[in-house]
Amino acid sequence: MSQHAAADGAGPLVRPYAMTHGRTRPSSDNFDLIALVVAADGPVSTEGLEPEHRSILNLARQPVSVAEISARADLPVGVVRILLDDLRVRGAVQVRSPMSGAKAPTKRVLRAAINGLRAL
């Protein structure tokens, strides 16, 4: 994908981070790769939003992970985190952090996972 651009030394940073207006970090950081994002039900003002914000809102009609948004929108994870932060500030998305956060999942979750895997 963009590996060639990176290898050429031109760097794919310019364009992705232009859409974040130069910001390289979200104002708050709890967008884990597997945090699940879903667009809010109600009407949301799209004034001032970049096309990439709108792409994210489209992708998040059903709950979708930060990693999936990055892959499907073809944007680096770092950029997705910043754009998501913009959307969250507007109330345009809800975010559910992973069940465990930084801790390992509980036994109850593990049992549910085993049952779910067996039923596949």
């Binding site: 990176a6 559910r96 779910g116 895997l117």
Partner: protein, 192 residues
């Protein structure tokens, strides 16, 4: 709004060509996706991207898949980035993970040593799945255990990463192992 599900993750590690993306793809309900993180050379393991214009950039790619386990629980499988210089990405991936599957290719067993070392040092529960490639000499799991110098409790099993049932069995083995470890820790009073 409908309740948003929770997500958990399992890592799939191993050397280049060991079958990581194949395994992810064989059980995932979506075609494996690729997500990329753009980083600067100077930022590796150190800090953020401020002052990006002066720095060279590189891209770390991770392949991943998804399995919806129940209405409220989704499992993500992440293939770990291959190059050793991307350990810092492993740190992010390992945080909060259920555990890891280390895929071993008996033709190039040494390729999975760094993964085994990493998870041992980090204390991340892992199992070793020997991917049985066509034409590769079959080894017994016990031989692989000795060759990798694994702790006796670490499960080692044979698998075919192309087959959904086989990959599913590997994941179940991992989660059962993690659950068993929890119970043992509780019995030893290590957990409150």
């Amino acid at each position: 709004m409908d309740e948003i599900p929770y997500a958990i993750k399992i890592l799939v590690a191993g050397g280049f060509g060991a079958g990581k993306t194949t395994m992810v793809g064989s059980v995932s309900e979506i075609e494996p996706l690729r997500t990329e993180e753009v980083i600067t050379a100077e930022s590796v393991g150190i800090d953020d991207l401020e002052g990006v214009e002066q720095k060279t950039t590189t891209t770390v790619a991770m392949d991943f898949g998804r399995i919806t386990l129940t209405d409220g629980l989704v499992l993500y499988l992440f293939g770990t980035p291959g190059q050793d210089r991307f350990w810092f990405m492993w740190d992010e991936l390992s945080l909060g993970a259920v555990g890891a599957v280390v895929l071993a290719d008996t033709r190039r067993l040494a390729d999975c040593f760094p993964s085994v070392d990493y998870f041992e040092q980090r204390g991340t529960p892992f199992i070793v799945a020997v991917n049985c490639f066509d034409g590769a000499k079959r080894y017994r799991p016990e031989d692989v255990r000795v060759a990798l110098d694994l702790d006796p409790q670490v499960p080692v099993l044979l698998c075919d990463a192309r087959r959904r049932d086989s990959s599913k069995g590997v994941l179940i083995t991992l989660v059962e192992y993690v659950l068993q470890r929890y119970s043992e820790l509780e019995n030893n009073g290590a957990l409150a």
